[in-house]
């Protein structure tokens, strides 16, 4: 199995719901707590496993605002695991999920340096590295109804922009979406082979720019066209 997420950049509205649901679930999950430092103060800081950034792509009027949620890509070539000196970081052979054993981490930050996607954040109170677990404590929980055995971010997304599934199965919803919509990996040139895939926005014509068509404007335009300067 190769578990991961597909994120649809066409429909994501940047509501930060996935990040909030992630924080809520994981602060009391297997790697919890996800601590904050000075949360209500002037300069709040804290460990989040999911960050949403907003970009302007293209030039106006053919530009588009794209919201890009990013969490751990559960890379196939996970350099964060290779560089870890304590063995705290590991990639599960059975489903490819990359995890940090909180009892072994010494907080040296080297895995965060090795990660090109900014997926790892040091917990300011615990001093250990925190990262997306793909809600490993949800997706295998047989006490939950079957349709709820999904990561918290996927369940909460109001626009269904996030899809969870097995990329090794060619007939899974994620594999089909990647095929049909031309899914992209981020920074493929570094060779980490990230599992999470992003669906680019669909091509839609830019909003038409209307021209003023009053009689006065029309005459002025005709005169300007007739008399060369």
């Amino acid at each position: 199995m190769k578990l991961g997420l597909v994120v649809d950049l066409d429909t994501c509205v940047g509501c930060h719901g996935c990040a909030t649901a992630c924080k809520q679930w994981n602060t009391s999950g297997t790697i919890g707590p996800l601590s904050d430092k000075d949360p209500y103060g002037k300069d709040p800081n804290g460990a989040w496993l999911n960050r949403i950034r907003t970009y302007e792509v293209g030039d106006t009027p053919n530009s588009k605002t794209v919201h890009m949620p990013m969490s751990c890509m559960h890379c196939e070539e996970a350099a964060c695991v290779t560089v870890c000196p304590t063995g705290a970081s590991y990639k599960r052979a059975e489903d490819g999920i990359v995890l940090v054993d909180q009892d072994k981490c010494m907080g040296c930050n080297l895995c965060a340096w090795a990660c090109p996607y900014g997926a790892r954040e040091l917990d300011p109170a615990e001093g250990t590295m925190k990262k997306c677990t793909l809600c490993v404590d949800r997706i295998y929980d047989e006490k939950l109804p079957e349709d709820e055995r999904q990561p918290a971010c996927v369940l909460t997304c109001p626009t269904k922009s996030r899809v969870f599934g097995d990329f090794d199965d060619p007939n899974s919803q994620v594999s089909q979406l990647v095929r049909e919509r031309g899914g992209k990996q981020l920074m493929p040139e570094l060779g980490y082979n990230p599992v999470n895939t992003y669906l680019p926005p669909r091509n839609k014509p830019a909003v038409e720019v209307y021209k003023v068509t009053s009689i006065k404007q029309g005459v002025k335009a005709w005169v300007n066209k007739m008399i060369s300067r």
């Binding site: 300069d43 970009y55 290779t82 000196p85 040139e189």
Partner: protein
């Protein structure tokens, strides 16, 4: 990259310590006349052990959860940091055996103690190399992901070690060894050359851009919103930015303090000034290590709005 002071102290001091012991053991065992002196070898050995130990202790200060530091020996097969830790600890019994031999026998060592010295010299070199590979192995930071990084660490470590060795030699024996002086001058010139080559090389941006980072390779991409109202871990760790003109000034100052000034002091052949040269080089190398971090640009910066890194 945010320069953590404990890491700067660690790499500079332990680098100098490993360089010192490496050169001293080699010079002693190949029979360099000026180094066949019990007091000199003991002072050099103790100084090197002191520098290395202070450095290693400083390195644990940047850990956020140091109670698990003992686990760092467990991933020798994959992690350069783990290899560094293993070789750094392995170095101690051999160098202590070598120094014990000198303590009891003087400069004329029996085979076992000479072999221990040789092994500690090799381990010093290997540890220094492992330290450099922690940085050189990171594909996320182009300014580090180069063969120039281990060359820099090795040459600058051995260079600062040679200055310390010359200072110790002149203070303990009261005369300046021409051979050690010449090799220190040659290493200073080599170190400066290696550093200048590095500065030219890192001027070129890496292949990753904000376009490859976001996947929109056929359009311009600009950051509108980072998504948080104050800096988080990623901003603090990777967003460290120093103005280009300030970096240039620090580079020039560093080259003057770490290489040019010590070179002039070396020519005087006065033991106090030689000691000053060694200390000034160490201060210059602290600035050099600070630049090594401050000028390194991690690819995560692309997601935070940098067009190139």
């Amino acid at each position: 990259m945010h320069p953590a002071f404990s890491v700067l102290v660690f790499t500079v001091l332990s680098g100098a310590g490993y360089g010192l012991i490496l050169l001293m053991v080699l010079g002693h065992l190949i029979g360099l006349g000026e180094l066949q002196d019990r007091n000199l070898l003991l002072s050099g050995g103790v100084l090197s052990l002191l520098l290395i130990s202070i450095g290693l202790l400083a390195s644990t200060l940047h850990l956020a959860n140091p109670k698990n530091a003992w686990r760092a020996f467990s991933r020798f097969k994959t992690s350069w940091l783990s290899r560094e830790a293993v070789f750094a600890i392995l170095f101690y019994p051999f160098v202590i055996l070598y120094l014990a031999g000198i303590w009891f026998m003087g400069a004329e060592l029996s085979v076992i103690f000479a072999a221990a010295g040789m092994i500690s010299a090799v381990l010093a070199l290997v540890t220094l190399f492992c330290t450099s590979m922690i940085y050189a192995s990171l594909k996320t930071i182009r300014q580090w992901n180069s063969a120039l990084t281990p060359v820099n660490y090795l040459v600058l470590g051995i260079m600062s070690g040679s200055l310390l060795l010359l200072a110790v030699q002149s203070i303990v024996t009261g005369s300046v060894s021409a051979q050690l002086q010449q090799s220190a001058i040659a290493l200073l010139v080599l170190g400066a050359a290696v550093k200048v080559i590095y500065f030219f090389w890192i001027g070129k941006p890496s292949g990753s851009t904000i376009k490859t980072a976001t996947g929109f390779t056929q359009a311009s991409v600009r950051l509108l919103d980072q998504g948080h109202s104050s800096n988080g871990f990623l901003n603090n760790e990777f967003g460290y930015t120093v103005a280009a003109n300030k970096l240039l000034r620090i580079r020039l100052l560093m080259l003057a303090v770490a290489f040019v000034l010590p070179l002039l002091l070396l020519l005087t052949a006065n033991s106090l000034l030689l000691l000053a040269a060694a200390l000034i080089t160490l201060a210059g190398l602290l600035a050099e290590r600070w630049l090594f971090f401050a000028e390194a640009r991690h690819v995560v910066r692309l997601f935070h709005g940098d067009q190139t890194v």
